[in-house]
Amino acid sequence: MLVLGLDTSSPAVSAALVDLDSGRSVAESVVVDGRRHGELLAVGVRAVLAGTGRGELRAVVVGLGPGPFTGLRVGLVTAAALADALDLPVYGVCSLDAMVPEELADPAPGVTVVADARRREVYWASYALGRCVEGPAVGRSGELADHLRSLTPPPVLVGAGALLYREAFGGLSVLDEPQHPRANRLVRLAAERIRSGEASDPLTPLYLRRPDAAPPGVPKRVTA
């Protein structure tokens, strides 16, 4: 059963074709360029689908973010339109879920996934025993660091946001990999729902921030 996965919630523009029966990635395309999601994603999808008939696909899975909005929407609208055109179900998964390491020491510590949210903030979510227990949320790295240090035992950190603000997270252990979500992992996280034939998701992006806009005040006078 072949499933196409996409993620554009980070600078890694990621597309993957996964065979759910074997659990193997059949093809994968990852290009790290945070400014060209729109140019890179469709090309990546074409590459991973090369040699596979469109009719062999069974579902599309996409990362819902959180992530910078403009890039994030490229993945979501691409997934929605592909699924529409090919008459496939489409599923959304929180992109941070795809960065929780599959293998951790036993007993496993908690894991906090931290992504760069720009403007000196991070997107984050905490996991225990493979489940999300806090977040996803957006906030300042220093405040998150204080919160995480207060937990016993403190969680292990992973993600580009944790590496970027390594100083703020001083005293907490930070893994080097993975830095960004990958589409093949997202597909595996949706496997149960795909196999059981669940209905498509509405694909609501995890923006976590309101648009920057304020109602205007009184028009400025031009005469003194």
Binding site: G38, L40, A42, R46, A80, A85
Partner: protein, 359 residues
Amino acid sequence: MCSAVRDRPAPYADAVPDPPLVLGIETSCDETGIGIVRGTTLLADAVASSVEEHARFGGVVPEVASRAHLEAMVPTVHRALDTAGVTLGDLDAVAVTAGPGLAGALLVGVAAAKAYSLALDLPLYGVNHLAAHVAVDVLEHGPLPEPCLAMLVSGGHSSLLLVEDVTATMSPLGATVDDAAGEAFDKVARLLGLGFPGGPAVDRLAKGGDRQAISFPRSMMRDDSYDVSFSGLKTAVARWVEARQAAGEHVPVADVCASFQEAVVDVLTGKAVRACRDQGIGTLLLGGGVAANSRLRSLAEQRCAAAGIALRVPRPGLCTDNGAMVAALGARLVAAGAAPSPLDLPADSAMDVRVVVSA
């Protein structure tokens, strides 16, 4: 309909080729426009507008527009398909506005167009928004006499273009040096407390006003260029209104609207008609949201008639941004054998008017 023709025996299918069936996607500003055109026949023009979400901000908020495009995309495509009575499998090509416009908004449409083109194995055309404003008129008034002159006026653009061939060559003759015409309407409407968008409200109130009541300036009216400027006019209106307010006098809103609107359309039509004469062009085409303005339409008619120029103005719904215009241009490009755009086509917020289709 399309497949029925294709199922005919081969000689007939070759003898009577169907005009191309094209899906057009437009997301350069706050309207998610999806059009379906077969050749020069309009089959569907579905628009989902986020204008009400912008009203309280007094202008289009790019992030709000982009969010709305994402939500509206697939449902609006299906609204258009249902209206046209065709399926995605019937399509021959996908066209999309590649620019100019709001970068994040354009990107949603471009990504959607790529996905449909990739999934359905269809050629993709990333087209210029301004060329699409020109091409839309063939849906209503038939083949466009080329060369012709196009004056495109909206909240985002005010351009005078020489159109030699809408599928290949358009040259800019003039543009606004500051505010777009529609922007001036929005700013004056805000000053008068008329809300956003300003164009329709000013047009409506101006009908009850005297357009000679106040003599507002006509910037750049008499210079040699085909450029226009509306920033000084907007300031002049503000000064006039503030002076009345400061004196505790009543502000005659209808007269202000009518006189301001007259100054705008006087300059626009004056420059367009002069450009037609100078260039020896016999046809003037209007497009863009401000071309829906009733006074612009009537003054352009009057002046073109006096100058012996044929005037073409699409109906208001086809002047404002829509997907039909993109589909109309796409169909012309397919018919002209133009090369499709590559799959790594970028959204180009500052796309040059001389580029009709992204290579």
